[in-house]
């Protein structure tokens, strides 16, 4: 494994007024990994991802490829290669599927490559190709989730942050999304996956962390955590 982490989080804190959502967590993500962050409702998972993407003010340091991201605006962070699939998918319902994808290429200058990426993305999600001229708001939940992942691919994210991609999807679709994630990962994208569906997440993850009320309480490889009695009890339904 590469010695320098791609993404490095040190003593991260995120607060909303008096609420301390994230209370000084540190972790690393190395190139090529799938790292998962599991935790219950309100544990601070989304806040962590929002801080990395520059959407929430934070304390501590976040570095990407050795560069401190503190002074980098959210849109520039995307241009550096950190894409996020936000909680609730964040599809623009008034834009067509094609437009949703196109918007995500805003910061890219490599137009011929963009054309090839549409084909690649439509190859992964043929359903989006069929629905390319349909408004985002008319897609089913599963299709919206596919579109959200496809958008992150279109922005050429080297790291993809995913916030509960399994939320609200049927078990079949969850498996499909996770399958795609492992494929994308094998094709070279590093993944930081936030999930409540700990079972699925830990199975695909190289490493995982457990986040409880703003603090990291456990860490290990996916297999280690799957076998951990505390994880089993709290997140895998006993």
């Amino acid at each position: 494994m590469n010695t320098a982490p791609l993404l490095s989080i040190r003593d991260l804190t995120v607060s909303y007024g008096n609420i301390k959502a994230v209370q000084g967590i540190s972790f690393d993500v190395y190139e090529g990994e799938i790292v998962t962050l599991i935790g219950a409702n309100g544990a601070g998972k989304s806040s962590t991802l929002r801080a990395i993407s520059g959407l929430a003010p934070y304390g501590g340091t976040i570095t990407y490829r050795g560069v401190d991201l503190r002074k980098t605006a959210a849109d520039k962070i995307v241009a550096l290669g950190i894409a996020q699939v936000p909680e609730g998918r964040g599809i623009f319902g008034n834009l067509t599927v094609q437009e949703n994808l196109k918007l995500a290429t805003w910061g890219r200058k490599d137009r011929p490559e963009v054309e090839r990426d549409y084909e690649r993305v439509f190859g992964i999600f043929p359903r989006l190709k069929e629905r390319r001229n349909q408004l985002g708001g008319t897609l089913s939940g599963g299709e919206q989730q596919m579109l959200a992942v496809a958008r992150a691919l279109m922005s050429r994210g080297k790291v993809m942050l995913l916030d509960e991609p399994s939320m609200g999807l049927s078990p079949v679709l969850v498996r499909e999304i996770f399958h795609v994630l492992t494929e994308i990962n094998q094709a070279g994208t590093t993944v930081l996956l936030v999930e409540q569906n700990a079972n699925m997440a830990l199975r695909v993850a190289s490493r995982g962390y457990v986040l409880e009320t703003g603090t990291l309480t456990l860490s290990g490889t996916g297999a280690e955590l799957l076998g951990n009695p505390r994880v089993k009890e709290a997140y895998l339904g006993g």
Partner: protein
């Protein structure tokens, strides 16, 4: 019949001016869900820049128009940065009150330099043609065609360009837009620049059609354009255009066929009735509620 056609032409002229101003209200509302109540006063500043360009710089029509549009666009962008941007997370009513304050500031600032009404020189050679009893002036043709051209360009920008796509995305959910790599502040500035420059174009044309201008001229016209935007469906660009023409039409027709003192009363009454049946305006839809 000729009287009616004549009035229809007048309605087109007034309506296209309302429509241009209404676009500014609706565009800003679309991206910030805020009513920029200073917009009517930016229309007034546009008229005064036209006056300055024509009187002191002795510029012809097209450079005057461009100067007015560019000057007001800069002012609009500056106002957003200084006065509205710090309030983006604040309750919307704070931003609206600030906008009213900015409007008062613009009126009084102009008043300092121009305590008396000013006369705008005619920039367009006045020619009149009579077709089947209906007379049409060169100014009317220019106002109507130019307004429609500006609206078509805007419609293309919003529907076909990346910037337009980003504007539409912001109107849906601006918290997600930066995750697309889109610089939110830049798009908001571009929106203000476009919206306010259309208001300035309206101010320039209005001051050529009604050449006596004063610092308070933006108030009533601004309200009427705002109502046009609401009638069309606030936040909806094509709606603002339609609303402007409807209001212009109703006003001119009421004045033409009823005692002229009834004009605003009947016009606004009709619009109120319309809003009872279509509370979101003609093309408006209820906003999507985020959970």
């Amino acid at each position: 019949m000729t009287y009616f056609l004549q009035q229809l032409l007048n309605a087109m002229q007034l309506g296209s001016i309302y429509a241009l101003i209404a676009l500014g209200y609706t565009m800003v509302y679309g991206i910030l869900t805020m009513i920029n109540f200073a917009h009517g006063d930016l229309f007034m500043v546009g008229a005064f820049l036209c006056f300055i360009a024509a009187t002191f710089l002795k510029l012809p029509f097209v450079p005057t128009l461009l100067l007015s549009m560019a000057g007001v666009a800069l002012l609009g962008v500056a106002i957003e940065r200084v006065a509205y941007k710090p309030l983006r997370q604040a309750p919307r009513v704070s931003a609206v009150i600030t906008a009213l304050g900015v409007g008062l500031f613009l009126e009084n600032f102009t008043l300092v330099f121009s305590p008396y009404p000013q006369h705008v020189p005619a920039l367009i050679a006045n020619r009149t043609w009579t077709i089947g009893g209906v007379s049409i002036s060169s100014l009317q043709i220019i106002i109507i065609l130019l307004s429609i051209a500006l609206m078509i360009i805007l419609d293309l920008v919003v529907r076909r360009t990346m910037v337009g796509m980003a504007m539409r995305a912001i109107s849906w959910d601006k918290s997600i837009v930066p995750l697309m790599g889109v610089p939110l502040d830049l798009i908001i500035s571009i929106t203000f620049a476009i919206g306010t420059s259309l208001g300035a174009a309206a101010g320039t044309m209005y001051s050529l059609a009604f050449p006596v201008i004063d610092p308070y001229m933006g108030i009533l016209v601004g309200w009427k354009a705002f109502i046009s935007a609401v009638v069309g469906g606030i936040g909806n660009i094509r709606g603002a255009m339609i609303g402007g023409f409807i209001l212009g039409g109703v006003e001119i027709m009421v004045a033409a066929f009823m005692p002229s003192t009834y004009r605003d009363f009947v016009a606004f009454g009709l619009l109120l009735i319309l809003l009872i049946f279509r509370p979101y305006g003609i093309l408006g839809k209820p906003r999507p509620q985020k959970v």
